[in-house]
Symmetry: C2
Subunit: 125 residues, 2 copies
DNA sequence: ATAGGTGCAAATGTTTTGCTGTCAA
DNA sequence: TTGACAGCAAAACATTTGCACCTAT
């Protein structure tokens, strides 16, 4: 494990949010200014393959990375774009029942208005 | 409605598949060789906004376009990448119940091995 | 010394956009 | 005739990759 990889991992582990590669890069540069974007992407890919972090993919948005590697679901705020974990059970069996065929997996992103944005809207009106 | 837009729409309407912009472009060029990729994208965007076609977005794959505009779900074959409609009911209420909060919408793509690929695998072994 | 990782820059794939000219209403 | 749209090329955006160099074993 190189210095760079350790820094990238620490950034992800310390963050309460689900960060994009760009955000991780900016944080990592605070610690090691010479680190390159390519190195961040390369290590994120390797760490994802190794199961050390979880890559969250959503249509039309940059990937985000999660320190919690057990499979779980996410929602995205339609106002601010922030991504959060949500406590929803695995739907594979349900989908197989509805579909009547084996399911290899699925992508699910729930669109919501997050608490912060809801509070803001309430105070604004 | 311009000649180009009519052609693009016809290509989508006549196809049994869910085509990418690239595929639509290739088909359209058979009819009007001077048509430009930008024109295809521009019209796909306009037609999507107008509700004339449905844009199917999936992480890491090019968008696909569906002549069936009523909201419904799709699956993607993990072998060949082909996209199909699937008959699954709307999950909004279920998600809201599980989440205990309002849901603005959601993206769901089910990963499967399609019939064609399943048949191929069966005959191969 | 050597296998692998780094930094840099260029390429990738998809999609959008600026601009100038053209066309259909 | 004029506003919308075409064609073209360049830019945008997220991400990957080739390559020469470096660095820990």
């Amino acid at each position: 494990m190189t210095q760079q990889r350790r820094i990238i991992y620490d950034v992800i582990r310390k963050s309460k949010r689900h960060m994009t590669a760009e955000q991780i890069y900016r944080e990592a540069r605070q610690i090691l200014p010479s680190i390159a974007m390519g190195t961040v992407y390369r290590n994120l890919g390797l760490m994802t393959e190794a199961g050390e972090v979880l890559r969250i993919e959503m249509p039309g948005r940059p990937d985000r990375f999660d320190k919690t590697v057990v499979p779980h679901h996410h929602c995205v705020c339609v106002r601010c774009g922030e991504v959060y974990d949500i406590p929803i059970p695995d739907l594979t069996e349900r989908l197989e029942k509805m579909l009547g065929a084996p399911v290899e997996g699925y992508d699910l992103t729930v669109h919501v208005v997050c608490d912060a944005c809801r509070a803001m809207e309430k105070s604004a009106q």
